[in-house]
């Protein structure tokens, strides 16, 4: 068959289709990012060709968040001689090829943070508005993934332009079109008609992936239990191990906290107001005139986890933990947010 290029269409494609989709994104002026296998993990890099893509999800180091919320950005520049302010917000054309469902959920959480309130953030919006997503469903769970517990995976059924699920035989993928743009990316592509069996395979694989998850966390009533467990001795136990290095928060796809500061060049001609990632885990985060709100490591650690598993629900009605497992992988002290959640609620 040949794809018409409409939202709602489905078909079975081979890996060669990826090249075509990537090429079309690039033709349309998008810088396309995907996970490339490097040093034993998947790292989001600009893609040359689809061949570079690694299909196995390994979590990677930084989440693709940096594409729509960069680690550091200039908000405006100020000419110290003329006193003129310049803030040019340029729309950015980026696309992600192979983003996973958990990261899509994290993106949706950030959308609420940056765009949902009274003051939509123009810098975020400029990167977010035109952001095609080619999503890979996860047919295998990583060791530390608990998306199925958090309701953010392993499959996705909304907010994608294209959705790709690997079927049983290697090199066969179920392709689902989720938007007009997604359609354009696959119009006229040669493909096999997707049969019922293919859907069955998809669902079975996703169910298996969820069932085989090695990390789990029961979320029923979790915020209340976390609040009640604020004084649980386990906090002391893990904060004795915790380095306070903030690795966990730095790899979290939903952390959004920031510093805003002024940077002036050496010749004092120009000041740039910048925003850069910051985290409640840093000592400097809670510092105020005459003290620090979270001087103790235990308070910083608890803020991080409480925010993810409790406070975010009060703030946004959803967990700001999407179960991606990155903070677990990269914690040099082996501290595990899912384990913590289980312990506090008494499941572990």
């Amino acid at each position: 068959m040949v794809l018409q290029g409409q939202a709602g269409e489905n078909a079975v494609v081979g890996r060669d289709a990826f090249d075509e989709i990537l090429a079309r994104l690039q033709e349309r002026g998008y810088a396309v990012y995907g996970t490339v296998n490097e040093k034993g993990t998947g790292i989001f890099r600009p893609l040359g060709g689809a061949g570079e893509l690694s299909l196995r999800c390994t979590g990677g180091t930084l989440p693709p968040k940096y594409l729509w919320y960069p680690p550091s950005e200039t908000m405006f520049t100020y000419d110290r001689q003329s006193g003129a302010l310049r803030s040019e917000i340029e729309p950015v054309k980026q696309a992600v090829f192979g983003i996973r469902p958990c990261d899509v959920h994290a993106l949706l959480a950030l959308d609420e943070v940056f765009l949902g309130g009274d003051y939509p953030d123009p810098y975020y919006r400029a990167r977010r508005e035109d952001l095609p997503l080619v999503v890979f469903n996860c047919v295998e769970s990583g060791d530390t993934c608990f998306c199925s517990s958090m309701g953010t995976g392993p499959g996705l059924d909304h907010d994608y332009d294209l959705l790709i699920t690997e079927l049983d035989r290697p090199g066969r993928f179920l392709l689902e079109v989720g938007s007009g743009l997604g359609g354009e990316l696959v119009r006229d592509l040669r493909a096999e008609v997707a049969r019922d069996e293919d859907y069955q395979v998809k669902h079975r694989r996703l169910e298996d992936a969820a069932a085989n998850a090695r990390t789990t966390l029961e979320t029923e009533d979790l915020p209340r239990l976390m609040s009640e467990g604020h004084g649980h001795p386990y906090w002391r136990e893990i904060s004795d191990k915790c380095f306070g290095c903030a690795n966990c928060t730095s790899v979290c796809p939903t952390c959004y906290c920031a510093d805003i500061f002024d940077e002036t060049d050496f010749s004092l001609t120009e000041t740039r107001r910048k925003r850069r990632w910051s985290w409640c885990f840093l000592m400097e985060f809670g510092a105020v005139h005459g003290g620090n709100f979270r001087e103790r490591r235990i308070d910083r650690l608890r803020q991080f986890m409480q925010h993810k598993l409790n406070f975010s629900v009060g703030q946004y009605g959803r967990f700001h933990c999407v179960g991606c497992g990155r903070c677990i992988v990269w914690c040099p002290a082996n501290i595990d947010i899912a384990q913590t959640g289980r312990t506090i609620r008494g499941d572990a």
């Binding site: 993990t41 180091t61 930084l62 380095f243 306070g244 290095c245 903030a246 690795n247 060049d265 840093l282």
Partner: protein, 264 residues
């Protein structure tokens, strides 16, 4: 600030050190010449400036290890409005503070044919042990970006801020794969203040802590980690007693582990 007389007067002093923390000024290449337009480089022996004080902003490299150092740092303090310790030596005493943990007379004999001619203190200490200090910039050597930020802050009239992030975060921003997690290397980045840009881990080597302890280092947990990774007590001791050996946190943690045998 057009009138020359109104330019803030900058000074750079050297005490017991390797000169490596003065070099970042000279390595600022073209910026150093721009700098000279907005600031008067009043004292900087290595760059040929030797005007007398007072100075508005004095950067001090080097630790205090003898009577003459102690006398001179007091004079520098008197003459300087803002006094900043730059680098491991001025902040903590430097690599040469390793001698603080060894018997001086033995050291003298090990190095000099006529040890009786040697006059110095038994220790090399950071300058804050002798005078009050307004700012500290860590590193071995200090980072030139930190120096620039400091100077700019002073010129703009704001209190300079020194970040309390860990080396880990610099690693993450570079998308390095964590050496502790992936390779079982006892990398000290988790305890070490940022500033270097995670140099060592970016070059496949564990951080050895040259920017000194971070804001709230969990030394005990790190020692446990080292043990899990198979390091002996003696090796753990030497990890803390290395380039930055005289920072309180590292010094004390070293003492908690068996000291190295000194054979002679």
């Amino acid at each position: 600030m057009t009138d020359r007389a109104e330019k803030p007067r900058l000074a750079v002093f050297k005490f017991t050190s390797c000169s490596g923390c003065q070099l970042p000024f000279l390595n600022m290449e073209t910026e150093i010449l721009d700098l000279a337009e907005s600031i008067e480089v009043a004292y900087f022996a290595m760059a040929g400036a030797s005007q007398p004080g007072p100075y508005d902003l004095a950067f001090v490299e080097g630790g205090i290890s003898c009577q003459e150092d102690a006398r001179r740092i007091r004079k520098v303090r008197e003459e300087s409005r803002i006094l900043v310790a730059i680098g491991n030596c001025a902040v903590y005493g430097g690599p040469q503070a390793l001698r603080n943990f060894l018997p001086l007379e033995e050291l003298k004999r090990a190095v000099y044919p006529q040890p009786e001619l040697i006059h110095c203190f038994p220790t090399c200490q950071g300058i804050a042990d002798y005078v009050s200090v307004d700012g500290f910039l860590n590193g071995c050597p200090v980072d030139h970006g930190h120096l620039q930020d400091y100077i700019v802050s002073v010129m703009l009239g704001k209190a300079p801020e020194v970040s309390t992030r860990s080396v880990c975060l610099e690693c993450k921003m570079k998308e390095n794969v964590c050496l502790i997690v992936a390779e079982g290397v006892a990398c000290m980045g988790v305890l070490t203040g940022s500033g270097c840009g995670a140099l060592c881990p970016s070059f496949d080597r564990g951080c050895y802590g040259c920017f000194g302890p971070s804001a709230d280092p969990n030394l005990k947990s790190f020692a446990n980690l080292c043990r899990e990774l198979g390091l002996t007590e003696e090796e753990i001791h030497r990890k803390f007693r290395y380039i930055v050996n005289n920072a309180e946190a590292f010094r004390e943690e070293a003492e908690r582990h068996v000291p190295q045998p000194v054979e002679s």
